[in-house]
């Protein structure tokens, strides 16, 4: 009879356990919708607010850019906390209604939306001043995780999400954000790798997947939003068969008729509808999400959608908003490096990095300008109506009254906070010249001094922004 040596047994059993264990390592999946009668979880249109709360409507868009973006955003929040709203006992931070975030900005936005003003005594030590990159590398280097990473259903991004969940977000799910009176409403943005469209972690977006967002961890949404290409892998979601009675909203069905009338409106719905069509769960059973910056690195596209066709539009048309302030915190850097000082063309790594980031920066600039133009158009229309009414009043006997524009003389402001706004010599001892900030790297580790400098300059940029000053000066309760 053949005898087996104990060493072989050990190796065999180890191999079997490794393979069974790797089979077990799977990413956390989103839950299916149980039925269609439940209210959608984390849906801005369901937030109950008194009419007064919408009069001053403040939106924050927090860009990507790793710890640099997170620190800059945090500095802006700090300044808003110290800015009283004229004629009230509120601060400007209390007035924030929506925060739309991308990548690095998602850490700050999600932390504030979840834990409120706790952010001001916890966030620096819990995130900004930690070496997240090193901690992630240590996790990857841990042999226990090698086994898990050998599974095709578990990757580096899942380790990152675990780290964020345990050490930053206290295992919070979107259920924590669901209470209908808890503003600000948080929109974490990622990018759907299938068609490159923006994907937001909101109830209505999950509705298209036949999925309930409530039980999904905020940390995984933040991980998807900040999954920088090549360094991290995508976060995956399941598109479920839809329960009986499932329908997409009428507004979306109307938009699907608008291919020739309005392609922007059509595609905003179509890119989601492909997951909601009757057999969509068979054709597109999964979604793979990466860094929100690939679709929009400033977080303003979500706001533009709400302004053009969503809940902000409904509030304007219902006359609820008197003044709208959008603060876009853009941590983009001047990524010019020294390319034009070398005779030889840049290497593969530089070209790869440039390819991934140049379009983001160009697109961010265009997004801000497009949004500003949209708001300016509204102001112009108000002016046309006023001028026309004045002509009628001055020249016609019959005092014909033009129909008033819904929302009346709403005031609109866009304050873009970017390092480009800083002079080379700012004349403030706490603030360094523009070049210093523009050369800070995009990573999840900066020195404590760099973080402190970014926090200070965030406040400085807000205080010294002419559009923000205009908002404060024109504020009449």
């Amino acid at each position: 009879m053949k005898k087996y040596k104990p060493g072989w047994f050990l190796l065999l059993s180890l191999t079997i356990s490794v393979f069974s264990f790797t089979g077990c390592a799977r990413y956390l999946v989103n839950d299916p919708l149980e039925n269609t009668s439940r209210t959608i979880c984390h849906d801005f249109s369901l937030f109950d607010q008194t009419p007064d709360d919408d009069e001053t409507f403040v939106i924050l868009a927090l860009s990507g850019g790793g710890t640099r973006a997170a620190s800059l955003s945090y500095g802006v929040l700090k300044e808003m906390k110290n800015t009283p709203v004229p004629g009230s006992n509120k601060t400007l931070l209390n007035e924030v209604d929506i925060i739309s975030t991308v990548s690095g900005g998602s850490f700050t936005g999600a932390y504030y939306a979840l834990f409120g003003e706790r952010i001001f005594w916890e966030f620096e030590s819990r995130f900004l001043k930690r070496n997240i990159q090193k901690e992630l590398a240590l996790k990857v280097a841990n042999p226990y995780n090698w086994i898990r990473l050998a599974s095709p259903y578990f990757s580096r991004i899942d380790l990152a999400a675990e780290l964020y969940d345990q050490t930053i977000f206290d295992s919070a799910t979107f259920n924590t954000l669901a209470p209908k009176t808890k503003r600000p409403f948080l929109i974490i943005n990622a990018t759907n790798l299938y068609h490159g469209a923006r994907f937001e972690f909101t109830g209505p977006q999950f509705w298209y997947l036949g999925s309930n967002l409530c039980s999904y961890p905020v940390s995984r949404a933040v991980a998807a939003s900040s999954a920088f290409p090549f360094l991290l892998s995508p976060i995956s979601l399941v598109n479920y068969p839809k329960p009986q009675g499932y329908e997409i909203p009428q507004r979306d069905r109307d938009a699907l008729e608008d291919y020739w009338n309005n392609k922007r409106r059509y595609y905003a719905v179509y890119n989601n509808f492909i997951y909601a069509a009757p057999t969509a769960h068979k054709i597109h059973p999964y979604l793979h999400l990466m860094d929100g910056g690939l679709a929009d690195n400033i977080g303003l596209r979500a706001i533009d959608d709400l302004y053009a066709r969503g809940d902000i539009r409904a509030k304007i048309n219902s006359g609820k908003i008197k003044r709208l302030l959008v603060i876009a915190v853009n941590a983009k850097t001047e990524s010019r490096q020294n390319i034009d000082q070398k005779k030889s063309p840049p290497g593969l790594v530089t070209v790869g990095f440039k390819t991934a980031t140049l379009s983001m920066d160009n697109y961010s600039f265009e997004t801000v300008e497009m949004f500003k133009e949209r708001l300016n158009q509204r102001i112009q229309h108000q002016r046309y109506l006023d001028d026309c009414q004045k002509l009628i009043d001055d020249h016609c006997r019959d005092k014909f009254q033009l129909s008033p524009l819904a929302g009346g003389h709403m005031k609109l402001y866009v304050a873009e906070l970017t390092f480009d706004n800083i002079p080379e010599k700012p004349g403030d001892p706490d603030i360094k010249g523009r070049d210093y900030y523009s050369r800070l790297p995009t990573s999840f580790h900066l020195s404590d001094d760099q973080v402190d400098d970014l926090i200070k300059v965030g406040g400085w940029l807000l205080k010294n922004n002419p559009d923000f000053r205009k908002f404060i000066d024109q504020y009449h309760p």
């Binding site: 009428q250 507004r251 109307d254 938009a255 009338n261 409106r265 539009r313 219902s318 524009l405």
Partner: protein
């Protein structure tokens, strides 16, 4: 963006159309604009009658909030080529 003005109109009175001999040949209905009523656009309550609303170019379904005393029950429109001064005007009649 495009512009739409929704009215709810009621018949206030009728005026006869007379021929040269003073014979009644027809009737003109005199309409009046009824007070503001909330609108349903798509499936959301949004805006009121008698106000010019800003909406995206394209297809919209417009209706009024209860009471259910108007006709037609819903109107499907394609909104385009309007300005704030000359919005598309849509009328519902009070039953």
């Amino acid at each position: 963006m495009e512009f739409i003005l929704v009215r709810l109109v009621g018949i206030e009175d009728h005026e006869n159309i007379l021929d040269d001999q003073g014979k009644i040949t027809g009737m003109i209905a005199m309409f009046k604009y009824l007070p503001d009523r909330d609108l349903i656009i798509g499936d959301h309550i949004e805006g009121k009658t008698n106000y010019t609303l800003e909406l995206e170019r394209g297809t919209h379904r417009i209706s009024l909030t209860p009471p259910d005393d108007f006709t037609p029950k819903e109107m499907k429109i394609v909104l385009k080529d309007t300005t704030a001064i000359s919005p598309m005007e849509v009328r519902f009649e009070k039953i």
